[in-house]
């Protein structure tokens, strides 16, 4: 995996370490990162995005404690979760929760009833 695959938005209200963990979760859940694949080194990520290496270490540490990756001596961090084994549907759905809550809030602010929102969403999902 290349450091440029991660995106970092320093001005977002979500801290950078959480942005990185979140992306790792999604990339692994979506199967773009597969078992055994090595994450870019802390230095590569910090250098590429011009961010503090401690922020990257913190993100990797959290990913490790969640069982997404493991530390291989002398090699770095390797992906251990695979799509089939660890990612049930409810687990993957949980990853969408923040976006779903934001959507619900916006719909609420616009005083839109659920039905038309759901119709549009169903269409977007192609079902």
């Amino acid at each position: 995996m290349d450091a440029s695959l991660l995106t970092v938005q320093p001005t977002a209200s979500e801290p950078i370490y959480r942005q990185i963990v979140e992306q790792l979760r999604r990339l692994i859940a979506g199967g773009q990162l597969t078992h055994g694949e090595l994450l870019p080194s802390v230095r590569d990520v910090a250098g590429f995005h011009a961010i503090n290496p401690m922020t990257v270490s913190r993100a990797y540490g959290i990913a490790e404690s969640e069982g997404l990756v493991e530390r291989l001596r002398g090699k770095g961090m390797a992906v251990i979760a695979t799509r089939k084994a660890a990612q049930s549907e409810s687990h993957r759905l949980a990853l969408l929760e923040p976006q779903l809550q934001a959507l619900a809030r916006h719909a609420h602010e616009l005083e839109l009833p659920a039905a038309p929102v759901l119709r549009r969403l169903t269409k977007l999902l192609g079902e």
Partner: protein, 297 residues
């Protein structure tokens, strides 16, 4: 104030000030500032123009004597630093003026002799990348080029403590990103302690581990960048709910339509004030810049 003999090198704050007070012609520049940097941390100092950032930095380094208060650098009194301590520090002022009669190359060759770990290769490469003609007189360079030369000078000395006053102003986006990369990697890998002031908050969000808000001569807030983003939010209450507003908030603003915006903080159990859960109330996450604008108003 001298460092206690029992203190080990790693626990001495590279920079520390206590009770700083300073004023210029009757107007208060600093009004009781306490601040200490942990070794290896990157502290970003934010403040509006005239908030006292440069004054604070100059006092911290012993370049200016405060009217009251104490400043130490690596445990030594800032106003009486020895040569050894000075060799561990690099400071880039907002408008470098020293040695203007030399060319960039002459100045760097001259200054480099005073630093045991001077990195000549870095100087050569960076002069080229940052498009500085080494043979031009410093006095003939634009302010931006002048500051770039000074940044090269500071980084080439491989300091343990790097202090930058508004470093981003002189750099284009590519060079700025490069500077941030240098700062981030040196802090993370060589344990360099960094203090930099800026009003470009996104730069600070990339590399700083901590942020301090200086406003009207006082430190309004000092906390880790991540924690700042997680701990504070804007709570908006429509007029009918405004009586439910929590008594304690960092700022409070009433809008023309009588609705209310407050900056609120998570309590020790990680929850927003009760009013946030009322129907019609809204909690919005705040970026660092928004937070600063809210509390500095």
């Amino acid at each position: 104030m001298n460092a206690m003999p029992s203190e080990t090198e790693s626990t001495i704050a590279p920079l520390a000030v206590r009770g700083l007070v300073h004023s210029y012609e009757g107007s208060n520049a600093l009004n009781g500032v306490d601040l200490a940097l942990e070794p290896g941390s990157v502290l970003g100092l934010i403040g509006r123009n005239g908030a006292g950032k440069s004054t604070l930095i100059r006092i911290m380094l012993g370049l200016l004597e405060p009217m009251a208060g104490v400043a130490t650098v690596f445990g030594e009194p800032a106003l009486a630093l020895g040569d050894e301590a000075k060799a561990r520090i690099a400071y880039v002022p907002q408008q470098p003026e020293a040695l203007a009669w030399l060319t960039a190359q002459q100045m760097l060759d001259f200054v480099g002799r005073f630093y045991p770990r001077w990195d000549k290769t870095f100087v050569r490469n960076t002069l080229e990348r940052w498009q500085i003609q080494p043979n031009r007189l410093l006095a003939k360079l634009s302010p931006g080029e002048r500051q770039r030369v000074d940044l090269i000078r500071a980084l080439a000395s491989q300091p343990e403590l790097l202090v930058l006053d508004e470093p981003a102003a002189a750099l284009d986006p590519v060079a700025r990103r490069e500077l941030l990369r240098e700062v981030a990697l040196r802090a993370g890998e060589s344990g360099t302690t960094v203090l930099f002031s800026t009003h470009i908050v996104s730069d600070l969000e990339r590399v700083a581990s901590e942020v301090a808000f200086l406003h009207r001569g006082k430190l309004l807030m000092r906390c880790s960048v991540d924690e700042t983003k997680e701990r504070y939010a804007r709570l908006w209450l429509p007029e009918r709910l405004s009586s439910a507003a929590p008594a304690h908030s960092l700022s409070r603003r009433r809008h023309d339509n009588s609705s209310l915006s407050l900056v609120v903080e998570l309590d020790e159990r990680g929850r927003w004030p009760e009013a946030a859960s009322l129907a019609g109330a809204r909690v919005d996450a705040l970026g660092l810049e928004d937070l600063f604008v809210e509390v500095a108003e």
